[in-house]
């Protein structure tokens, strides 16, 4: 008898945790269109997750030709040259993803994403950039924001066993469950450019060191016109110099960004598969939340470092005046 009552009580008490996507959410998912640019390991994990979840369509953008290095982080492409020769990475992934769930349309969009105009993005509900340059993140994010419809924008980067996810849902209203009641909540997200221009002095206390280190590396690659991740530890002296400049300009103690972390990020051209699985899963969850309107979305950065195992959310936006 007691067991029965406890179950009832648990039901009431943990109601917000006993979430069910429900038919309504599934319908919204199945009508949504997602663009994924940059198909490294984490993006592949993400694609698998949303294709299995049953979104409407997934459009892949990555014109690179498959190399051994790419193959090492990819479980979609058979290890057989006769299959992958002559096709782009996106084309090969597309073939495999279609197999996962015939109800999802998977297609390829060729070209350099930063060259696409605003209208191109209008057909998507979600845009995910993986390992993009600083300028591409900023420009694509801005284009998404110019459209009347709200496009959820995500940028994800995995280096070594570290990862960063950025989320921009613009003005996002969702119903948050508080006890038995649903309360309307408004979250105001800054754009990527707005977020990273928040002065370092006014960042949240004990902000993740990864946030700072990522900004230094990102800036470095931008200045040197590198493809993201195409740097190595031989770049360390230059990166240290940039760290000093940026820290001084922001009046931050440069020891906040340790050498060891910079080194790891510089060398981490291959993503660490377990981290890709974790980040691809978390990104998948966030996109499903944003599309279904169910669950509290994260705002607006997520950091993970397998070294300490912590997965941390940081809210980095301008303080309201």
């Amino acid at each position: 008898m007691n067991g029965e009552e406890l179950t009832e009580q648990e039901t009431a008490l943990y109601d917000r945790q006993i979430r069910v996507w429900g038919a309504d959410a599934q319908r919204r998912l199945s009508k949504s269109h997602i663009l994924v640019s940059g198909l490294k390991g984490t993006a592949i994990e993400f694609c698998k997750n949303i294709v299995l979840a049953g979104v409407g369509s997934v459009t892949l953008n990555d014109d690179r030709i498959v190399t051994e290095e790419i193959l090492s982080a990819n479980f979609l492409i058979p290890h057989d040259e006769s299959v992958y020769s002559g096709k782009s990475l996106a084309e090969l992934c597309c073939d495999s993803l279609k197999d996962f769930n015939p109800m999802v349309r998977v297609s390829v969009e060729k070209g350099e994403l930063s060259n696409f105009d605003v209208d191109f993005f209008d057909k998507f509900d979600v845009v995910v950039l993986s390992s993009s340059t600083l300028s591409t993140k900023i420009s694509v994010n801005e284009k998404c924001r110019k459209l009347l419809k709200r496009i959820a924008f995500y940028a994800v980067d995995c280096r070594d066993s570290c990862a960063e996810i950025f989320v921009d849902l613009q003005n996002y209203i969702y119903s948050k469950k508080q006890g038995d009641e649903a309360v309307e909540c408004l979250l105001e997200y800054p754009s990527f450019e707005e977020a990273i221009s928040v002065p370092w002095r006014s960042l949240p206390r004990r902000v993740s060191k990864l946030y700072l280190a990522m900004r230094v590396i990102e800036k470095f690659e931008e200045l040197e016109s590198r493809i993201p991740g195409e740097s190595s530890d031989s770049d360390l002296p230059k990166v240290q110099k940039l760290r000093k400049q940026l820290s001084e300009a922001q009046s931050l103690d440069e020891s906040q960004i340790p050498d060891s972390l910079l080194e790891r990020l510089l060398e981490g051209r291959i993503e660490f598969p377990p981290v890709s699985a974790i980040i691809g899963g978390i990104l998948g969850q966030e996109v499903i939340k944003a599309l279904s309107g169910k669950g509290d979305p994260l705002k607006n950065f997520f950091f993970f470092d397998a070294t300490d195992g912590k997965g941390i959310i940081e809210d980095i936006s301008k303080q309201k005046p």
Binding site: D24, E45, L52, F75, H79, I282, L298
Partner: protein, 633 residues
């Protein structure tokens, strides 16, 4: 690896990508059509084949040069004994049933092999744990919350508990009939061959314009309770070790005269109050605690279906199950009970069904990927003997204080755990009334989770199971089972110490018998009480109150609860086990600097080295100091 299901597929993929070279995988299941949209290594053409074998083949396609050894077998088979387990460096669990997990835990303890596990905490979300004998708690040191997720194939094909029938009725059937039309649903599929049949199935559930509602209801009834069961029966392998279900057709059900067909029921409906539309009411069934017969359940099913289409037609296509929706609860109760009848599972009342239906969490596909990633990270630390950095990681459903993934140090072994410590158990029992069979069924099997038990009183063997017994031994033990304890050849009474042992699990424990005359039938239905054993839902001790951000208090279900105060930036984890010590996460996860990143580096360097010959090597940097490199999940 044990298990090639939802977590198993993710785990095998991530292990292979991470460079693991020698993996053994055990799974007794075959692939069902309904697995396909979650277990991504499987395709339509694999249906009916061994999960372990197909998972191996799928992974070898993108990692041709590693060794994966599949076993299409039950991990409880005697072949998988302690020696078998000893050949591995680490065991990874991708199982979702408690029995098999307890079994694997015991074998790992006996073999001295570290085990990485995952599961729900019932409160915080998912958790990945590391169990190393003597260093951290074992899987059974802590009470386990009732599992709240269920394998899809159990729901669609092989239910064994009433809750499986409820999940089927609510999430598959109800959703299919009254929910969004284009959603994915495991009921879409029904036979192993291809798309033509799923096309047909769509037609069965689709009600044609002006199709007679009575006929439509019977058609659905016959399809899901008759035809689908017949189809399932045709897959004979499934039923080798299982009770075969019985197809039920509407023609077999004797009609029940409905009272008040045109009476007050109609009037109520005209009033437009949806909550008053009730199949129970129109059938004159009043008490929700009553158990309905199969006939009554069938009549409620058909009546509820009819009422949805006649009184609530506008909502069809938009409905999702709500435990406060009377008609929905009636429909789900009836459907679950009819299915339960098919599978020989005891029926339940509407009152009970409602409780069960309102308390279910779905496995979210993305969670499997996250959990698998966390498991692999711990497995790598184990291979490096990076003992200091073992962590249990909570994957929080609702982030508390910015933390979504929250690592804490593994808990110490529970000194009173009967599995990994040598604590004697005490059993209060009426030695003059209870039979040995009661003791075996209710205690040794149900509570202690033994598979092949052996019971001794001093040097006298009272009971034993095994293939190698002589006929007279078998007869002797069978006779003993029916005897009351005090009349056994070596009488068991107050003060007796019994030794209970499972040779396969290499688990041995002592039970002190304490005679007691009376037991409260309501509160102590077993007629015996085992103490020194960690029951599910242990009460909180040592006075630690646990609160969370949303003000909810725990019922002792969770292993650890987070305590937060506004002034304090640090998060504290307070183990609810007796004698546990407080610890600060911020301390423990930042103090120890891991050499984890250097592992990653080594891995990469080696990958570069071997790029030329298409091979991937990992963790071969000598720091292992160990020639064994097998992974067993």
């Amino acid at each position: 690896m044990v298990g090639a299901g939802g977590i198993g597929c993710e785990l095998l993929k991530t292990l292979a990508l991470s460079g693991f070279k020698d993996i053994h995988i055990i799974d007794m299941d075959t692939i069902e059509v309904s697995n396909l949209n979650r277990q991504f290594l499987f395709r339509q053409s694999h249906v009916g084949q061994s999960k372990a074998k197909v998972a191996r083949d799928a992974v070898l396609k993108f990692r041709p040069h590693i060794s994966i050894t599949p076993y299409h077998a039950n991990v409880k088979d005697p072949d998988f004994n302690v020696d078998f387990f000893k050949q591995f460096n680490v065991v990874l669990n991708g199982l979702d049933n408690l029995d098999a997990r307890r079994h694997v835990n015991r074998l790992c303890l006996a073999a001295g092999v570290p085990l990485v596990e995952s599961g729900t905490t019932g409160f915080l979300g998912q958790v990945v744990t590391v169990h190393v004998k003597g260093k951290s708690e074992c899987y059974e040191c802590q009470p386990k919350p009732a599992p709240k997720t269920y394998p899809v194939c159990t729901i669609t094909s092989t239910p064994s508990k009433f809750v499986h029938c409820i999940v089927w009725a609510k999430d598959l059937l109800f959703a299919k009939l009254f929910g969004a039309k284009n959603q994915e649903n495991d009921l879409n599929v029904r036979s192993s061959d291809a798309s033509s049949s799923s096309q047909q199935t769509e037609d069965v559930f689709e009600r044609k314009n002006n199709e007679d509602i009575e006929l439509y209801g019977k058609k659905i009834f016959d399809h899901v309770f008759g035809y689908n069961i017949e189809l399932a029966l045709s897959n004979e392998d499934t039923w080798k070790n299982r009770h075969k279900p019985r197809p039920i057709y509407s023609k077999d059900i004797s009609p029940i005269e409905l009272p008040h067909q045109n009476g007050n029921q109609a009037k109520i409906s005209v009033g437009g109050d949806i909550s008053s539309v009730s199949a129970m009411a129109s059938m004159g069934l009043k008490n929700p605690q009553d158990l309905w017969s199969l006939n009554e359940n069938s009549a409620v099913f058909l009546e509820a279906l009819k009422l949805f289409f006649s009184k609530r037609e506008k909502e069809i296509g938009n409905l999702s199950f709500d435990k406060d929706d009377q008609l929905a609860v009636e429909f789900v109760t009836a459907a679950a009970n009819i299915r339960a009848s098919s599978f020989g599972i005891p029926l339940h009342s509407l009152f009970e069904s409602k409780g069960i239906a309102g308390n279910i969490i779905h496995a979210v596909a993305t969670t499997n990927a996250i959990i698998a990633g966390l498991i692999v990270i711990e497995a790598i630390k184990i291979l490096q003997s990076d003992t200091k950095n073992y962590r249990m990681t909570y994957c929080l459903e609702h982030p508390s204080r910015k933390m979504l993934l929250m690592p804490v140090e593994p808990f110490e072994p529970n000194k009173s755990c009967y599995v990994c410590s040598e604590t004697p158990l005490t059993l209060e029992i009426n030695a003059h009334r209870s039979k040995l069979r009661d003791l075996v069924d209710k205690i040794v099997k149900a509570k202690l989770g033994m598979n092949l038990p052996l019971i001794m009183h001093g040097s006298a063997l009272l009971y034993e199971v095994g293939d190698d017994l002589e006929e007279d031994e078998v007869a002797n033990y069978a006779a003993n089972l029916e005897k009351v304890l005090s009349e056994l050849p070596s009488p068991v009474m107050g003060g007796t110490i019994l030794t209970v042992e499972d040779l396969q699990q290499e688990l041995k424990c002592s039970i002190n018998i304490k005679h007691r005359e009376e037991f409260d039938e309501e509160k102590e239905p077993d007629g015996m009480i085992l103490s020194g054993w960690t029951p599910a839902l242990a009460a909180e001790k040592n006075g630690s109150t646990s609160t969370t951000e949303n003000g909810a208090s725990t019922s002792g279900v969770s292993q650890a609860t987070s305590l937060m105060t506004e002034e304090d930036d640090d998060l504290q984890i307070i183990p609810t086990q007796p004698g546990g010590k407080k610890r600060k996460i911020s301390d423990l996860s930042s103090a120890a600097t891991s050499d984890f990143s250097s592992v990653a580096k080594d891995t990469k360097i080696q990958r570069k080295d071997v790029d030329g010959n298409n091979d991937v090597v990992m963790l071969d940097d000598g720091s292992l100091g160990n020639s064994k490199k097998k992974i067993e999940t």
